[in-house]
Amino acid sequence: MAAKVLTVTSGKGGVGKTTITANLGAALASHNQKVVCIDGDIGLRNLDVVLGLENRIVYDIVDVVEGRCKLRQAMIRDKRIEGLFLIPAAQTRDKTAVSPSDMVRICDELRPDYDWVIIDSPAGIERGFRNALAPADRVFVVTNPEVSAVRDADRIIGITEAEEKGPAQLIINRINPAMVERGDMISTIDIVELLAIELIGIIPEDSNVIVSTNRGLPIVLDGKSQAGQALQNIARRVMGENVPFLDLNDQGGFFKQIGKLFSSGGKNE
């Protein structure tokens, strides 16, 4: 095994990075993949909460970096989902406690034994983001159909390109089909046209996400929810499958257009 490192990032906060990291991890693990999720948001950790593993934290990533424990000791194994592990962030430290080279070292130590390492990046373009970007093999940029989120995504994509971590792939989260239909939301096609990177997922707005977050149970385990399905599809695309995009009643044949835009030149690993 030689794990690929996926970094989930966005620039703007609250767009769904943590939700996507947790669910991508759970979905990949449910396909018999060995997955480690790393919470890169030191000082504001919450990936553990979304995964429902908060009460099992003993050591965190700063303990690893500062030599208080071995890497394996800081890894929490998810008892419900075989093959899923979490390395939690420290709650009480700031982002400078970890450096980009620490992250590279930790990922390199994990690579031989796992299939995927997924890093949940903090918002912003500062140290925490640089830490999350440093070891990345692939970068997923998350945005919402909102002008400010798209603007930040563009900025992040630019930095990713400058750091030669690109081309990043795009996940658009919280699409509201009813609003799109009314023309009250920036359309997916406009976002893709502006950001000009490959689209790898579209996730609808879905109140089940909040319910599952509160329960600490990844929504991909809920086969009926649309968001869960969309996240499952992203996981399959990550593994190289060619999965068509969900039809979210988006009028105007958008998904056909997207299909045309991306069926050629899609980067599958």
Binding site: R151, D152, D154, R155, I157, G158, E161, L194, A196
Partner: protein, 227 residues
């Protein structure tokens, strides 16, 4: 903008060509220009072409100091007056520029056409990217919202222009901005600012220029633009 000062980009930095008129007034105007357009001039190497003006060594030294207070370095001085040139040399300023002469091709007429300094960029300019350049700027690709171009001359975008652009940033009111889709967040030519009204119509190539102190955008007309 003082009509007696013309700024353009050259390979050595910026060239300010001084026209006729009262030297003390022009000198003052030059300093004001550098101050008001600090964004543009900051860090630049400046060469003055003073033409016939006679400038004393002490005055020149003082001017150099005043210019350097704005983070601009006076590197060279071109003058028609041998005395002024001597004064410039004594201050260590470059007074001659090697201009590569176009090779004579043996033809009866020189058919080559000169041009101005420009920078060519082939990529998408994303939010947070910027280009600051004394000459013209040519981009093949989109200029996204949040990206910025500041040019001493014209700005040509072969793509969608949605970011912020400032053409003629050193005061050139004849500067143009062209784009296949002209929808900038903000567009400035010399000192004049305009904001594009959002429109839903099908984009067409457009040219923006200053007419009677206002920025006007016109659809690119192949027939009209032939001069």
């Amino acid at each position: 903008m003082n009509p007696n000062i013309e700024i353009k980009g050259i390979s050595e930095g910026l060239l300010a060509t001084i026209g006729e008129g009262d030297w003390t007034e022009i000198r003052q105007a030059l300093l004001e220009l550098i101050q008001t357009q600090a964004d543009f001039f900051k860090g630049a190497d400046l060469t003055l072409n003073v033409g016939d003006h006679e400038i004393k060594a002490a005055d020149l030294g003082k001017l150099r100091d005043q210019i350097s207070e704005n983070d601009v370095i006076l590197r060279g001085l071109i003058s028609k007056s041998p005395r002024t040139e001597e004064n410039a040399k004594s201050l260590g300023l470059t007074t001659h520029f090697e201009r590569p002469q176009p090779e004579r091709s043996g033809k009866a007429f020189d058919t080559s056409v000169g041009g101005d300094e420009a920078i060519f960029v082939q990529r998408t300019l994303r939010s947070g990217n910027n280009i600051i350049y004394p000459g013209h700027v040519v981009v093949i690709g989109d200029v996204n919202p949040g990206a910025e171009i500041i040019s001493g001359g014209n700005i040509i975008v072969w793509g969608r222009l949605r970011g912020t652009v400032h053409a003629g940033a050193s005061g050139d009111e004849t500067a143009l901005v062209c784009a296949l889709e002209l929808a900038p967040t903000q567009l400035r030519i010399a000192e004049t600012v305009s904001i594009t009204p959002s429109s839903k119509k099908k984009p067409k190539p457009e040219v923006a220029s200053l007419k009677d102190g206002q920025v006007i955008a016109e659809v690119w007309d192949i027939h009209k633009s032939k001069k």
